[in-house]
Amino acid sequence: MALDSKVPKGPIKDKWTDYKNKIDLVNPANKRNIDVIVVGTGLAGGSAAATLAELGYNVKAFAYQDSPRRAHSIAAQGGINAAKNYQGDGDSTYRLFYDTVKGGDYRSREANVYRLAEVSSNIIDQCVAQGVPFARDYGGLLDNRSFGGVLVSRTFYAKGQTGQQLLLGAYSAMNRQIARGKIEMFNRHEMLDVVIVDGKARGIIARNLITGEIERHSAHAVVIGSGGYGNVYFLSTNAMGSNATAAWKIHKKGAYFANPCYTQIHPTCIPRSGDYQSKLTLMSESLRNDGRIWVPKNMEDVMAIREGRKKPTDLSEDERDYYLERRYPAFGNLVPRDVASRAAKERCDAGYGVNATGEAVYLDFASAFQRYGKEQAKIHNLDNPTKEKIIELGQAIVKEKYGNLFQMYEKIIDQNPYETPMMIYPAVHYTMGGVWVDYNLMTTIPGCYCIGEANFSDHGANRLGASALMQGLADGYFVLPYTIGDYLSDDIRTGEIPTNTKEFDDAEKEVSERINFFVNNKGTKSVDYFHKKLGKVMWDKAGMSRNAEGLTEAMVEIKAIREEFWKEVSVPGTANEMNTELEKAGRVADFLELGELFAKDALVRAESCGGHFREESAELDGPQKGEAKRNDKDFAFVSAWEYKGEPADAVLHKEELEFKDIELKQRSYK
């Protein structure tokens, strides 16, 4: 099947408006007869469910947690971008569009990104109307902060909990519709398959996670907003339950999976402390505005620090290697996420990591204390302030800006970051890849849509800070509710979809068989054993930098782990009860397939772009020596994979990317 992105014709700035004007609509009376299933209730799923219900559709929403409010969108800290230009610093829809395409290393679809930039300011209006308490200045107007990789202040925020507040806004909109009976909410339910009738997505099979009951739910369209697949690495900043199952199931039923290798490794996370580690905690990227990153210059000092003979504060400036400032004098500590992460890995691989695991670098605020302290001393007219006074004044400013992050760090590591530098290390954070969708956000299965992080569309090979929230809400509030009407307008006479058909029987049987296999297998190893093993292969061979040899090995190793999994996995308990190990087993089984496709995709993409760094594709000489080298001639396409049984047999379809409104350039941060 040839890929048709269905991008409308015309100039980029008019595409969305013209398209909306011509799109088929469903009459309000008919909407009442149409059901839509929404799987996942984070920012994308939650906002879509609420909006579809407001429009009049009957929505059935599914969440594996006990409430939509717990979706992992809630953990986003920094903010949400919008081209409001409230600061008058020259921001515009075009500039947001440009920054996002450039930040994505020219691997995203122009028309989608432009639309995203276009609706971004509606999101802010909407959220304020819903009672989202964004930060304000003393004049009572909305405040903005700036974020990595851009030249304007366009990020709206609510303390360090922007994701939480936006999600609670969408959740409140959902609650209003649940109360009206327009959304039927299925909490503690997990989608385990999609049901396809006559080539169209017409329902899902879900498991009630409390009783273990397998349920059939039908609808005229199915929307997947189940988030990213970062947990394929076992350790990531994702929630423990975040999984790829819904996305992977639709992939297996015909939805192409795009760019699985595009993963964002976030540079400022709290390092791992031991093998028992269950997840990694992110600290906002904004810390790099004031922190300087370094490791010791000399190996003796590294050893002394690891053995506790020396403290980082004992090292003089000459004994420190501020490697980002050294390598990237122009951007210094503010290089984009992918560059900062790779540089940390390079130093740690060379043996300069500063904690027991050898996987940590310092993020030091001492000079920020000095800088702010001196500034404050001047403001307060202090003549000849003491050293201590300057540091005290400086720390107060830093505390105001990042107090909650410093406190979080201290709770986890048990060290006071005001006295000793923080330790950080990169961690898997976001997956730009996902289910392939067209301009309507429809997958290659008719009637099956995919929104938010679960789809691939807007971030290319690397996502800029504060744009994940923007995309989730844009898809859910403002894009999908329009585009889905175009499809559903054909369904006004269909009537309710019966669930007592062969298609539902078959799908349910498949799901039940798999569950019964798990509880009856009586293997010797826990689910986590396999998940950790998979995670290690992914991290070592398909992590921050990749090469053909490692990726080939990874494919073989993942396949071997998968085979062992199906022989040896042990799931205690039964199918007819709450069984958390059973839930995990199903999710890990899917990760074991996705991981292999991931490696295959990374192997095929023999260029470096965004979060995907291929060691073979680096600049060989000149000032950019050693830096990532993109190859637009051969790789300016989206890889969309068609399922053919084994992940290794997946078939590649290419969606060629055209850049009419932006000139392709190599990124440079030197």
């Binding site: 809630i74 580690q277 048990d414 826990s526 042990s570 308990g573």
Partner: protein
């Protein structure tokens, strides 16, 4: 360190539960409490026993899923944190740790340490929203200035994560801190004031219907709240409710 754990085990909502003793060894002080539970569960799975079911998800203190009553306190002995942010360095080698689910008649146990908090959902559905459609045709976000003070206070109330520690802690199983926080957030914002009177009455009526107890102002909820939601929110809800009801 080596620890003895006394954990509430309950097969399902109908079954009678009981405390069961377990031993875990070689626990690192750097582990989080839930990682210690992971160790226990791995141990149980490997010996073919059913692991202890407990709610958890983000493991960074924001989703509100985790909900353990540890040594007689919601989210354990540390302050300003959820269970997942509690670290083993708060305990000593040889300690016995009692782990129970959040208790309240309105929070029935589903299994082991997992409780049903749907009562919170129904309270939110009763009025925890502003009735505005997601049309995209709302007025510009800066059309109504909001004083920084009010916006900050609304934000402080809005940081509630809905974990239920307030109810679990309260000797009366009262949900007033939870409801007060939501009522306050909207009451402080001009967008929320339009339907403030109906909102507070509907939410309080639902709260009462769910069987939560009456607040007697012990202040325990505020102390145990992982997000430090202030008792002032309960006072504000009282004011809002009384004026809404008395005005008719």
């Amino acid at each position: 360190m080596n620890l003895t754990l006394k954990i509430w085990r309950q097969k399902d909502s109908q079954a009678k539960g009981q405390m069961v003793d377990y031993k875990v060894t070689e626990i690192s002080e750097h582990m989080s409490f839930l990682e210690m539970m992971d160790v226990l569960n791995e141990q149980l799975v490997n010996s073919g026993e059913e692991p202890v079911a407990f709610d958890h998800d983000c493991r960074e203190g924001i989703c509100g899923m985790c909900s353990m009553y540890i040594n007689g306190e919601a989210h354990g002995p540390d302050r300003g944190i959820t269970t997942c942010q509690l670290h083993m360095r708060m305990f000593n080698d040889g300690d016995t740790i009692t782990i129970e689910p959040f208790r309240a008649a309105a929070f029935p146990v589903i299994k082991d340490l997992v409780v049903d908090r749907m009562a919170f959902e129904r309270i939110q559905q009763a009025g925890g929203y502003i009735s505005v459609n997601t049309s995209g045709n709302t007025q510009d976000a800066n059309n109504i200035p909001i004083s920084k003070h009010d916006a900050d206070e609304a934000m402080d109330a809005a940081t509630c994560i809905g974990c239920g520690a307030c109810v679990a802690t309260c000797k009366n199983s009262s949900a007033m801190l939870f409801v007060g926080a939501k009522v306050s957030q909207y009451a402080l914002l001009p967008q929320g004031q339009v339907e403030a009177a109906d909102r507070v009455q509907n939410m309080v009526a639902q709260m009462d219907l769910e069987g939560f107890g009456n607040c007697t102002n012990t202040g325990a909820c505020e102390v145990e709240c992982p997000k430090g939601i202030s008792l002032e929110n309960i006072a504000r809800m009282n004011r809002e409710y009384l004026s809404a009801t008395l005005k008719g």
